[in-house]
């Protein structure tokens, strides 16, 4: 076993992993952070999306040992009690979530976009979310949600 130290949602953790352990397994099975989901284990669906040092990645095909010392963000880390991230507000308000299974990954993909591009077009949003599959919603209301959040965050800044 190898020792692994990493920070998740601002809290540091130490755990042990093998050579083939994925970041997703660390989060779910060791740290009990379950918002990243197992949808394919091959990087095809995006339900396991998390941010590593603010960059969107697939935790299911991220070798855990490659995250040594890194900062991981999951959707649990976006909200504080009684205070949602504007993206969370918008997904709730605009019906960006149906079954909810893709939602955590979708919100993180959207966050990665807005961090870099605070005023995206609908096309920008579609491109940024193109690796996150949703089988319920047909994507329109998801794009609506991201656009609304961008608007909200833009106003908050001014």
């Amino acid at each position: 076993m190898h020792s692994l130290e990493l920070t998740v949602n601002g809290r540091s953790y130490q755990t042990t992993v093998t050579l083939k352990t994925t970041l997703l397994e660390v989060l779910r099975d060791k740290l009990f952070i379950t918002s990243p989901k197992v949808g394919c284990n091959s990087g095809d669906c995006g339900t396991c999306s998390v941010l590593i040092d603010d960059k969107l990645v697939r935790s299911c095909i991220t070798n855990a040992l490659s995250t040594q010392g890194k900062e991981i963000t999951t959707v649990e880390g976006l909200s504080k009690p009684g205070h949602l991230h504007p993206l969370q507000e918008a997904f709730h308000e605009k019906y960006g979530a149906q079954c909810g299974f893709c939602t955590p990954g979708m919100i993180l993909a959207a966050k990665a976009l807005l961090d870099e591009n605070p005023k995206p077009s609908r096309k920008d949003v579609r491109e940024a979310l193109s690796g996150n599959l949703c089988r319920c919603a047909g994507y329109g209301k998801i794009v609506d949600s991201v656009m609304a959040a961008a608007e909200q965050m833009g106003q908050a800044k001014n």
């Binding site: 989901k37 949808g39 959707v75 949602l84 079954c99 909810g100």
Partner: protein, 456 residues
């Protein structure tokens, strides 16, 4: 009365939990001491199990239990209970479960599967339903490859006089349509966690989209006495080493929050196996399918082969429809006979046809069992019917809108199953569509409504 809540765009009840990641799906439930389940699947599409020796697997450190068909009290389930939980002697599709293992972790479970000594004598299979319908085709099932609706090998729907209808027609339009097999591709994989208790109570965390439907079936698997078995083809093992005698209140099915269904979770995929392993090992057992397993071996929308022959008047009226639809059901009934029924009941689409003859076939092949998927059997009938409408329009030199307006059901029309319709709105729905899409319909169509035909 004006309504205050109904009709409002209120936010999703569980939306807050979804966006915060709080929503707990089956895979997110953590119970200490849970074993990992993996299944051994048939490598062939059809065959007879000659050897099934699990002793080496059972002897492995870390393996808590192995089950085979011998361990299933009533090894037959489904709406038509004809599918074994674990294949017993005969395998009918590639990927059919022939044994399952519960072990301390995934690696151990997978290693144990490799230690099971399985020999299957491969037999000639049939994958094409059109081939399977031939008298000399390899038998998927002992009693024949076509589901019997009463005395017929098809569901028959008859209205009016089909021959008179064709005689009355000016033109006959006949075409063949193929609707392929489709996968639900719901994002939450087939997953089940069964937790036994010393009291005898079994708790199952399920992805089911039909809790009570599955509860009933599961109790059937766990308790039925041999003389209660409805299936004829697969006799249960009376010498089963244990029997649970479960009633509805002995099992608590926990679920209700499903990560996408679309019909993929109307059939039990994993709960029966985890339940049996939990009862055998006395430990919580969890089985999460891989995406590959889910794509290849879970239920799916079976393929359809549809022939439509319509008798049409020059003015656009369809006066006769003869339709033959063949459903590739795969190896077991699952919900297929029902799917064919639903398809057949509405096989003229949203159009009034006075003379109708529909034959819907449910045909078994050596594929995983097809079953429900969003739209059941209606999806392929809509596909075929709507292409057929455009082909009729083309044949008559008519506008595709007009053909649909002319034939659209009106209030008081009779369906092929002789139901008289109320609350009909197709004409209005099409008018709204045209308006939204910026299509300027001719006045004749703009002035139609669903109350009356508007033409003679």
């Amino acid at each position: 009365m004006t309504m205050k809540v109904v009709g409002q765009r209120v936010k999703r009840y569980d939306g807050m939990a979804h966006v915060t990641g709080e929503t707990r799906f089956v895979d997110d439930v953590i119970v200490p001491g849970t074993l990992t389940v993996k299944a051994l699947r048939s490598p062939v599409s059809k065959g007879t199990i000659k050897t099934m020796d699990t002793s080496s697997a059972e002897a492995m450190p870390g393996v808590a239990g192995v089950i085979t068909a011998e361990d299933v009290p009533c090894n037959a389930y489904g709406l038509v209970p004809d599918q074994p939980v674990i294949a017993d002697e005969t395998v009918r599709f590639k990927g059919e479960v022939v044994a399952a293992v519960a072990a301390v972790d995934e690696d151990t479970a997978l290693e144990a599967l490799e230690k099971i000594n399985l020999e299957i004598e491969e037999e000639e299979c049939v994958l094409d339903p059109l081939e399977a319908m031939k008298p000399d085709a390899p038998k998927v099932r002992p009693e024949g490859n076509v589901f019997m609706y009463d005395e017929r090998p098809f569901r028959q729907i008859i209205l009016g006089d089909i021959e008179a209808g064709f005689k009355d027609a000016d033109v006959v339009v006949e075409n063949e349509y193929v609707h392929p097999s489709l996968e639900h591709a719901q994002l939450e994989l087939q997953t089940s966690l069964a937790v036994p208790a010393a009291s005898g109570k079994l708790t199952i965390y399920t992805v089911s989209q039909a809790l009570y439907f599955h509860l009933g079936q599961l109790c059937g698997i766990l308790q039925m006495e041999p003389d209660q078995i409805q299936c004829k083809s697969w006799a249960p093992k009376t010498g089963s080493s244990w029997r649970h005698n479960a009633g509805f209140s002995d099992v608590n099915y926990i679920g209700g929050t499903v990560g996408g269904g679309f019909g993929s979770k109307n059939d039990i995929h994993a709960d029966h196996v985890t339940a049996l392993l939990a009862l055998k090992t006395g430990q919580p057992c969890k089985w999460r399918w891989t995406r590959e397993e889910d794509l290849l071996y879970s239920t799916f929308r079976g393929a359809w082969f549809i022939t439509i022959k319509d008798g049409v008047k020059k003015d656009g009226r369809i006066v006769a429809r003869q339709m033959k639809s063949i459903r590739d059901a795969g190896g077991y009934s699952s919900l297929n006979p029902y799917v064919v029924d639903k398809h057949s009941f509405v096989a003229t689409g949203p159009y009034f046809v006075p003379n109708v003859q529909i034959h819907g076939y449910c045909v078994y092949t050596n594929k995983p069992p097809a079953s429900s998927m969003r739209g059941f059997g209606v999806t392929p009938s809509v596909f075929a019917t709507e292409l057929q409408m455009d082909k009729i329009a083309q044949e008559l030199g008519m506008d595709p809108w007009e053909v649909r307006f002319i034939n659209a059901y009106r209030t008081g029309d009779q369906t092929p199953t002789r139901r008289v319709l109320n609350s009909v709105a197709l004409v209005e729905v099409m008018q709204k569509l045209a308006e939204k899409a910026g299509v300027d319909l001719p006045d004749k169509l703009k002035n139609m409504n669903s109350k009356e035909r508007g033409w003679t």
